[in-house]
């Protein structure tokens, strides 16, 4: 282990793994999380998460038994927190795929120590998101049955493929499937490592089954690399497509405030923005819980802060453009809806959005904030809040003041709305904590690949596969 500090490349390219860790250090460190006893912090977090998840299922049960009326939705505001949360969660998911797939294709090595967790986050976020479109009909069994275009002999009729909601069904389910595959494939070598290190028969069996007979042989590595590359290639377009299609739910309508062509890029940028915010939130937590400071280094976090700054600017620019177009279109309804956002009954939502999404990220211009854990933790929380408000502003304010003043209304959430939203956090956290506890939260094999700053080897070091 040469003294990395003397390596001239270090100046340009600081190490992705610090503390002079060796291969076995990495393996030990990561595996120990799974193998050792759960730290106190983990139990505390679970104690918060599980009851919340319970709340989610209680609220959904009540909803299904009683009807959508238990939420605040009404006419004219047919969509409220349900679709707001759906878009928000889907957005969160994006960072995961972006980090693991796109950064992978761009050979961004610094992704290695965060991509696993980020992918997991994607998966769980999509799970939370999927709850809303399914349950916002109040009769999920019907939605599930009708929405999937089974060739049906009962009725001789198809779904309406013109409807963006139909596109959503495909977009989201594809996204979920591919992310799951990508994640699992990535896990296989590390599962094998755990299998091999396992001491109890149960662990051996479970990890053994999961690792699908991985041996780390050269041929396996070759197939593995190819499969991983292909999946990365598959997921990359999805990052763009999913949120573009989600944005069509609004863009294809004729409602002022929804009926706009800027939505696809605007939504994708927003998604990445919120996604990275969420990754930072979780990573700083994981770092705190498991002391992964050497694996999730300041470089990772700083990079992510930069991404947030960039996407935050894009989002801010989009807000400006919307207003400009509203004015430039000379369309009375369009102009009114945007002025109404800022100065109407929902002014508070609008200005919280601006504060969190446009003002907050500006702090990342300064290195001090980019490198301070508490600062980025707090700011990332703000950004998450801001992005939620963005979706709420788009949905509620556009609906509550539409064409005929006679039908104008207002949306107020009920306790069930709130409970359901908090509940999805519970579900998300529970899943994420279980993941931290029972699966390698950091891609061991990939991290090893960047231990020595070899620019050549695209991925991992086969020789050292899961065979310690």
């Amino acid at each position: 282990m040469a003294d990395l500090a003397l390596d001239p490349r270090m100046e340009l390219n600081p190490p992705l793994v610090t503390g002079g860790m060796t291969y076995s250090d990495v393996t030990d460190k990561v595996s120990s999380i799974v193998e050792g006893k759960a730290p106190k912090q983990w139990w505390i977090a679970m104690a918060v998460a599980v009851p919340l998840a319970g709340l989610l299922f209680a609220c959904l049960g009540y909803l299904v038994a009683t009807g959508i009326g238990v939420w605040g939705n009404n006419s004219p505001v047919g969509w409220g927190w349900d679709i707001t949360n759906f878009v928000w969660w889907i957005g969160i998911g994006h960072a995961g795929t972006l980090i693991s797939a796109i950064l992978f294709l761009f050979r961004q090595k610094w992704r290695t120590s965060i991509n696993r967790a980020a992918e997991a986050m994607t998966l769980f976020a999509v799970a939370c998101a999927a709850i809303y479109p399914l349950f916002h009909t109040g009769r999920p069994w019907r939605a599930a049955y009708w929405l999937f275009p089974l060739p049906n002999e009962f009725l001789h009729m198809w779904q309406n493929f013109r409807s963006p909601l139909m596109w959503d069904v495909f977009a989201v389910s594809t996204y979920g499937t591919v992310s799951a595959l990508f994640w699992f494939v990535g896990l296989i070598p590390d599962l094998a490592t755990l299998r091999d290190r396992a001491t109890t028969p149960i662990r051996k069996t479970i990890y053994g089954l999961l690792s699908l007979g991985w041996r780390g042989s050269a041929s396996q590595w070759r197939h593995y690399e190819l499969a991983y590359l292909l999946l990365a290639g598959l997921s990359t377009p999805l990052v763009l497509s999913v949120h573009s299609i989600v944005s069509f739910d609004f863009a294809t309508s004729l409602l002022p405030g929804w009926h706009t062509t800027i939505f696809p890029p605007y939504f994708v940028a927003g998604a990445v923005f919120s996604g990275f915010a969420m990754v930072v939130t979780l990573m700083t937590l994981a770092r705190w819980i498991y002391g992964l400071d050497n694996l999730i280094t300041m470089k990772h976090l700083e990079n992510m802060c930069k991404v947030m700054l960039a996407t935050g600017m894009i989002v801010g620019f989009a807000y400006g453009t919307e207003f400009f177009i509203a004015w430039y279109s000379a369309n009375q309804y369009e102009r009114f809806i945007f002025l109404n956002r800022a100065f109407g009954p929902y002014w508070w939502a609008y200005w919280s959005m601006i504060a969190c999404n446009v003002i907050a990220p500006q702090f990342f211009w300064f290195r001090k904030f980019r490198t301070s854990i508490p600062a980025m933790f707090i700011l990332s929380i703000f950004i998450n809040i801001g992005m939620w408000f963005e979706r709420f502003v788009i949905i509620a304010t556009s609906l509550h003041r539409d064409f005929l003043p006679s039908s104008w209304g207002y949306f107020t959430p009920t306790w069930v709305d709130i409970g359901t939203y908090l509940g999805t956090f519970g579900l998300f956290l529970t899943l994420f904590l279980l993941f931290l506890r029972f699966l390698p939260a950091i891609a061991i094999s990939e991290v090893k690949g960047v231990l020595h700053q070899q620019v050549s080897a695209p991925h991992g070091v086969p020789a050292h596969g899961g065979s310690h």
Partner: protein, 214 residues
């Protein structure tokens, strides 16, 4: 050191694959079995009075309209009132124990509780009048009732089944006066005659939602 032998792992992967395939197949089979054609046709409930359509409509050659009087005037092909049965059975078989429920009903004014055979969902508004006057025979939906001792459902009565005919009515259209002649067959292809009638009378069966759902 490994838990599972190489072979076991291979089998494991095969098994995983097999499970996926089986699930798919299971779904397909379930869908087939749940189809009205399997689920509903052949339904033959026991009626409170052992009335035989074969005897009345078949052997005795009574016209359907003698009992089901309202087919041409209303949505419903009314099940006959007790007094219609009694028109004959005051002197025919007036002592038969099988007819006791009929006589009771006539005496007390209580209805006979017939069991519904051909059942459509509540949100379906089928109109007998429209079909019968257009020349769609009873047999198209109810089958050869004149050969049934106990009436049973012979068609799935599913929406797909309705639409098949609405989208291609020709084979099922005949001169209206012949709708109750269940055994009637045109010489040659029924579709040819049907097409002719359809042209002449300007029959165009709707296939939009509110034709049946209101």
């Amino acid at each position: 050191m490994t838990v599972f032998s190489k072979r076991f792992d291979t089998h494991l992967r095969l098994a995983a694959g097999a499970i996926v395939v089986l699930l798919g197949a299971g779904g397909a089979i379930a869908a087939y079995l749940l189809h009205p054609r399997q689920l509903d046709t052949g339904y033959t409930p026991v009626q409170p009075v052992p009335y035989s359509h074969k005897l009345h409509a078949g052997n005795l050659g009574m016209d359907c309209l003698y009992c089901h009087t309202t087919v041409a005037q209303s949505n419903y092909a009314a099940v006959p009132m007790t007094e219609i049965c009694m028109n004959c059975h005051v002197r025919v078989k007036e002592k038969s124990p099988k007819l006791q429920p009929v006589r009771d009903s006539y005496a007390s004014g209580k209805p006979i509780q017939w069991v519904k055979v051909h059942r459509l969902p509540d949100y379906v508004y089928f109109n007998h009048q429209a079909h019968v006057t257009a020349g769609v025979s009873c047999v198209s939906c109810h089958g050869r009732v004149d050969q049934m001792v106990e009436v049973r459902q012979v068609q799935p009565l599913s929406m797909a089944w309705c639409l098949d005919c609405h989208r291609n009515p020709a084979p099922h259209v005949r001169p209206p006066e012949l709708v109750t002649k269940l055994d009637w067959q045109p010489e040659g292809d029924p579709a040819v005659l049907g097409a002719k009638l359809i042209r002449e009378k300007g029959i165009h069966p709707p296939d939009n939602c509110s034709a049946c759902h209101r």
